[in-house]
Assembly symmetry: C2
Homo-oligomer: 655 residues x 2
C-alpha cells in the first residue's frame, strides 16, 4: 500500500478471476465429470485452507472472546421440528415456469433481472454511462444486451422511476404481487421471450426419510438455529442457569434453491456459522456495548428503503441505538462485532453496509433485523443476517413439546402483589346449589379483577345474582362465599428469553473476499494476485529453493524453524523458474516468499519477497525468519520489515 | 500415574458414565424434547471442544505432517455417482422383521446378540466367570439375562464351539446364510420371542431430490471418498502432475442404519476423516516406511479368523510387510500412523488391535484391508478402516464418464517394444474379398501374438486359410497382405493409480476414548474423572477465584497471560465451593486448575492442582503460569512440575 503498486490498472474481470480460482482449485463445480449440478461446489486445497482460516478466526473472534457455548448438532431433522418452527409452511420461494419450455425460474430474480436490464438499456439509449460499479458495469451490461438481442431502448421517465421503486422494495413483495408485476410490466423469460406462469410456492428444504420403515419423514436443516433452541435447557444448565449467554455453531446447512446460477453466492449446500444469544427480554443492554459504541457504520435503514431509495447513512452504533434506528444494545453490539470480523479477514469496509429489513421482509415475530451486505460484481449480497427473533422459537417449541424452555430467576426481593380472592363455604354453598355447585364456582372464578370487585360490592349489600352460559341464574349471599383481598409473594421470576441471532454464510463471505482482494499486475493482465491478509491466506510463507537438489537440508531447517513458531509454510521445489513459482503463489494469495540460493549455502543469507510489491529483502536466515514471523503475526508491516533487513537488488546472489 | 491413585477401585459402569456425559452435555440425544430419533446425537460444549481438538490433532498429524491436499466437498450427491461406485446396488445391510410386530432388526446384530447371550448364560450355568472384559462383563450379562427372563441354560459343548465359530466369522456371512443361521439355531426376536422374516437388503443411503423438478434424485454421501476420486484430475494438477500424493477431508456423512441402538458407536450421521493416498500400482513402497518399521502392533490376521479364532499376534510392521501379512509398505505406513494418532490422543494401546478383513468381508476389488478396532464396553469396535482399494474407483468413474482419471508419466527412457503387424494390400485384398474384406481384416487383427506368428509362417509358405465365426473360409496369400515385425517407442507411461484409504469415524474414536479415560474416585463412586490428555481436553486450565468479587483483576491478568501463550483457560467464578468447582471440572476432564485466593492478593502466589492426583503445588503467579504452560504443551510431566514448585499443604493460604 505504501509502495506505488497500481492495483486498479485493469478493470475487474469476473470471468478471468473465476478461471484463475477454478484453475488453482480454490473451488470447482461439484460432480463436474458427471456434468455438474447447479448450486453445488467443492473446495480444493487453497479454498479449504482459506475457509478453515476464516472459520478459525470466527471461532476466536466470537466464541473464544465472548465465551460462547459451542455446539455440533445433527443435520437430519425429523419433520415435526420444522412443522413447529414454521419452515414446513413458510420456508419457500416463489417460482414461475416458462409456459412453453417448463423452465423453472425464481420469480423475484426474474423481475429483478429483467427490470435491471431495461434500466441499463435505457441508460445506454440516453447516452449515459451505466451508474453501476465501474469495475463491473460494462461487462454485465454487455451480457445483458447480448441477451436482449436488440438495440438500447429508452424508457419513459415515469417507467424509470417506477422500476427503481420496484427494485428498491423487491424483497417486500408477496408471490401474487410478483405475478402482478410480471403481467403489468410484461416480464417474460429473457431466454425465450415466453410468458411465465403465476408464482407458486416451492419449499426449499431437502426432504428424506429416516430409518427403514418409511414412516419418519425428515428434512435436512436449512439453518443450524433450531438445534440451539431444542437444546436450550441443557445449555442453560451448563451456563449455571443464568442468562445472557450465547451458543454458537459452525456447520453445514442445505437449501434446495430453485434455479441457482450465481456461483458461490447462491448454493444448495453451504457452511454457516450461527450464534444464538439468549437474553432477558426486559434487559437487552450489553455489558460490552461501551467498548463499541463509537464505531461508525454504514447503515441503510428501513425508512429510506420504504421511500424507494438506497442512500446510506454513516452513524456510530451508539447514535443508532440512542435514536432507535437499531432496536437495542445487544443487536448493536453484534452488528459492530460482525463489522470488525469482516474487515479483519480482508473485506473492504467501503463495500460493506448494513441494511435493515423492511416490515414485510422480516419474519412476523422479529423485532428488528439487519443484514451485513457486501458489494461484489453481482451487486450487494447479504452475507450475514443479524436478527432479534424475540421469544418466538422457544415459545413455539415449548408450546408443542411441553418442555420448559424458560429461565427461572430467583428474585433478589420477592415481588408482592395483592389480589381479590373468592372463597366458598363448601357446606352452605354445596347444600344450596347441589350438582350446580361446580358451575357456580366456575363462573365466580372466571370473573376478572374488575368484575370480582363489583361482585364483592354487591355481595356486601346482601346478595348478588350470577348467570350460567346456559342462562340459569344463581343467587349468592355472604353465607355462600366471601371475597377478600389477599397478599401474594413471588420469589422466582420465570421468563422465555429473547434471541438475538447473527448468522453467517461462510461461502458468500469467502467469495466476496476473493473479489475484493483480486487484481492483475499492471504489466500483464494475466498475472493475477490475491492480496489476502496473512491471517487468512492458505499458505503464509512459500519456501523456494533455487534447484531441488542441493538445498534439501536448508529447506528442512527453515521449514522446521517456521513450524516451531506456528507458521505454516509450503515448499515449492518443482523444476519451474523461481519467477513462475512466485507467480503461481501470487494467484494462491501467499503473502511472503523466501528464496534459498547459493548465497544461502556460502553466506547463510536468505531473501524475503512481499507478494503485492514484489520487493525483496535480504538478511541472514535467522534474521529473515524473525522478520517473516513478525509479519505473519501482524506485529510489523512491510515498511517496518524494510528497516530491519537490506533491500535485495539481485547483486548479492551467487547464481 | 506415578502417584498411588487407584483408578480401578470401582468396576466400569457404563450407565454411570453415560449419565455423567449427558449431564455435563458432552453429548445428548438429538431432538430429545421431540422424543428423539435413534442414531442421532448432538454434541454440547465439552463434546464439541473435545471433537474439535481431536480433529485439530488429526489435521496436524496427517495433513500437515504428510503434506496432504485438503478438500471440503458436497454431501448431497446426484444418484449416477453412487450408481457407478456400486453403492446403489450394494451399500446395504440385511434386515429382518418380527413376523408379528413388524419391528425391524439388523440380521447380523440379531444373530450376534442372541448367540452371545446364550454363551453368557451357558457360562453362568457352568459356574464359570464370564470371560468378557472385567470392567464390563457383569453388567452386560445381567442385562442380557434380564432380557432372557429365565435361568441360565447350559449348552452342549459342540453348540458352544459352533456358536464361537459363527461369531468369529460373523462378518463373513451373506444374507441368505444369516437367514439359515436363524432357522438352524432358532434365533427369534429377543424382545418378543417371535420368529423373524427372511433377511432382505436395505440400502443405507438417505435419498432425496435435487431442485424443483423432481427429476434429479440425490443421495447423502455415506462416505467422503467419492468426491476425492471425482476431483482426481484437479488434485493431480495441483500436485504438479505427480504421484504419490494424498488428499484428505474431514466432514459429515450419513448412513440410514436399520435399528441403531449403540449410542455414539452406531449413528446415522457422523463426522469422518478420510485420506485417499494415490500411488503407482507398480510401486507401493513408502519413503517414510523406514521411520516406522520397528513399531510393534497387535494384529489379528485373516487366517486366524478363518480358523474361527481371535488370537492376536504382536509383530513389528516391518516384519508384517516382509512376511506378506500386510500387503505393502504404504498400507503398513498408514497402519502405524493410525496407531500413533490414536495413542497420542489417549486411546489405551492395550485395548487397540488391527484386524484384517476376511475375503468375503472385503470389497471384491480390494487388495487388503485392516480395521483399527478399539475395545470398549460393547466389545471390539471398528473405529478406523485402512484399505488398499486398488484402482477400482478411478477405473469405474473413468469408464462411466470418459474423464481421463489417469497419471501420465514421462518415461526417463522410452520403452521400446517389437510387435508383429499385419498390413493389407487394399487393392488386391479388396478385389479378392469384396464386401467380406472388413471381416477378413477383423479376423487377422484379432489374432494374438502367438497365432499371428503361426499365420506369418504359413503365409511365408505360400498361403493360409482363415475362418469367420460363421464358418466361412478365406484363403490368403502374400499378395493380399504382409506380416512384419515393427518397433514401437513409448515415451509416456499412462496408468490408473491405486488408492490406499485410511478412513476414521471420529465419533466412535471419541466415545471409546471417553470410556478409556473414565474412572471414579476411590472414596466416592459418584465422583467421576475423565483423565483426558491435555492435548485433547476441552479446557486445559480452570481458573478458580476464591470469591467472585475481589479477584477480578487477577483473573483477567492470569487469563490474558495464558491466552498469550496459546493456552485455553476457563474461569469458574460461580458461588459454589472450590471443591465442587474442581469436582465439576474433573468430570469435564480439565487437567489443571489454578486457584486465586487471599494469598494471591497479599503474597502474589497461586496454587496449581493436578486433576488425577488432586495434588496441589504453590508458587508465584508467573512461576505457576510457566509450569502449567509446560505441562499443557507436554514439555514436562507432573513429577517434574513438583520439582519446580512447592507442595501446597493448605497452610500457605490466607483465607
Amino acid at each position: 500500500n505504501i509502495m506505488a503498486v497500481n492495483k486498479t490498472a485493469h478493470a475487474f474481470d469476473k470471468a478471468r478471476l473465476e478461471q484463475m480460482l477454478i484453475g488453482r482449485f480454490f473451488f470447482a463445480p461439484a460432480f463436474e465429470i458427471y456434468g455438474g449440478v447447479a448450486g453445488l461446489y467443492d473446495y480444493g486445497p487453497p479454498g479449504s485452507a482459506l475457509q478453515a482460516n476464516i472459520i478459525a478466526e470466527w471461532r476466536k473472534h466470537f466464541i473464544v472472546e465472548d465465551h460462547m457455548l459451542e455446539l455440533d448438532t445433527t443435520i437430519m431433522t425429523p419433520a415435526p421440528v420444522f412443522e413447529t418452527s414454521g419452515h414446513v409452511a413458510r420456508f419457500a420461494d416463489w417460482m414461475v415456469k416458462d409456459v412453453k419450455t417448463g423452465e423453472v425460474l425464481r420469480a423475484d430474480h426474474l423481475v429483478k433481472g429483467v427490470l435491471e436490464a431495461r434500466l441499463a438499456s435505457d441508460k445506454e439509449a440516453r447516452g449515459q454511462a451505466a451508474l453501476t460499479q465501474e469495475d463491473d458495469g460494462k461487462d454485465k451490461k454487455k451480457k445483458r444486451r447480448d441477451k436482449l438481442k436488440h438495440a438500447p431502448v429508452q424508457l419513459a421517465d415515469e417507467a424509470v422511476a417506477e422500476y427503481e421503486r420496484i427494485l428498491a422494495q423487491l424483497d417486500n413483495h408477496t408471490g401474487p404481487e410478483l405475478g402482478e408485476l410480471c403481467r403489468t410490466h410484461k416480464i417474460t423469460n429473457p431466454d425465450t421471450g415466453n410468458e411465465v406462469t403465476e408464482p407458486e410456492m416451492f419449499n426449499l428444504m431437502f426432504a428424506s426419510s429416516i430409518g427403514p420403515t418409511g414412516k419418519l419423514p425428515g428434512f435436512l436443516r436449512p439453518e443450524t438455529a433450531q438445534s440451539h433452541f431444542l437444546n436450550f435447557s441443557r445449555l442453560l444448565k451448563y451456563n449455571n442457569d443464568t442468562v445472557p449467554f450465547a451458543s454458537a455453531q459452525i456447520g453445514r446447512s442445505f437449501r434446495n434453491e430453485i434455479a441457482p446460477k450465481a456461483g458461490l453466492l447462491r448454493v444448495r449446500e453451504f457452511t454457516m456459522a450461527e450464534i444464538e444469544h439468549f437474553v432477558d427480554p426486559e434487559d437487552k443492554a450489553h455489558h460490552k456495548f461501551v467498548d463499541v459504541r463509537d464505531v461508525e457504520l454504514t447503515l441503510l435503514d428501513r425508512e429510506t428503503q420504504g421511500e424507494g431509495h438506497t442512500d446510506v447513512k454513516r452513524m456510530t452504533i451508539g447514535e443508532a441505538v440512542d435514536k432507535g434506528v437499531v432496536a437495542n444494545e445487544t443487536l448493536g453490539y453484534f452488528i459492530v462485532r460482525i463489522y470488525q470480523f469482516l474487515v479483519k479477514i480482508g473485506i473492504n469496509p467501503k463495500r460493506l453496509r448494513f441494511r435493515q429489513h423492511m416490515k414485510n421482509e422480516m419474519a412476523h415475530y422479529a423485532t428488528d433485523c439487519w443484514d451485513a451486505e457486501i458489494e461484489n460484481s453481482t451487486g450487494w449480497t447479504e452475507c450475514v443476517g443479524c436478527a432479534d427473533r424475540a421469544a418466538y422459537d422457544l415459545t413455539v417449541h415449548m408450546a408443542k413439546t411441553g418442555a420448559p424452555l424458560v429461565v427461572k430467576q430467583a428474585l433478589p426481593e420477592p415481588i408482592v402483589t395483592e389480589k381479590e380472592v373468592a372463597e366458598f363455604n363448601k357446606k352452605t354453598a354445596g347444600k344450596e346449589f347441589g350438582k350446580d355447585f361446580a358451575t357456580v364456582r366456575q363462573i365466580v372464578e372466571n370473573l376478572d379483577e374488575v368484575n370480582l370487585v363489583k361482585f364483592k360490592e354487591e355481595l356486601a349489600k346482601g346478595s348478588t345474582t350470577i348467570k350460567s352460559p346456559e342462562g340459569k341464574e344463581f343467587k349468592l349471599t355472604p353465607d355462600h362465599l366471601t371475597v377478600e383481598k389477599k397478599t401474594f409473594k413471588q420469589n422466582v421470576r420465570e421468563f422465555t428469553p429473547n434471541v438475538i441471532e447473527p448468522s453467517f454464510g461462510i461461502g458468500r463471505i469467502l467469495y466476496c473476499l476473493l473479489e475484493h482482494v483480486y487484481w492483475s499486475r499492471e504489466q500483464d493482465v494475466d498475472r493475477g494476485v490475491l492480496s489476502l491478509p496473512p491471517l487468512v491466506a492458505p499458505t503464509k510463507v512459500l519456501i523456494v529453493p533455487l534447484s531441488n537438489k542441493k538445498f534439501d537440508h536448508l529447506v528442512k531447517d527453515v521449514s522446521t524453524k517456521l513450524r516451531k513458531r506456528g507458521i505454516f509454510a509450503n515448499v515449492d521445489d518443482s523444476n519451474q523458474s523461481i519467477g513462475r513459482r512466485y507467480a503461481r503463489n501470487d494467484e494462491l494469495g501467499t503473502p511472503f516468499g523466501v528464496t534459498l540460493d547459493f548465497a544461502s549455502l556460502s553466506k547463510g543469507t536468505m531473501t524475503l519477497r512481499e507478494r503485492d510489491t514484489t520487493e525483496q529483502l535480504i538478511g541472514t536466515i535467522d534474521e529473515v525468519i524473525d522478520v517473516v514471523t513478525d509479519l505473519v503475526n501482524g506485529a510489523i508491516d512491510w515498511p517496518e520489515a524494510k528497516q530491519r533487513l537490506s533491500l535485495y537488488d539481485g547483486v548479492q546472489a551467487v547464481d
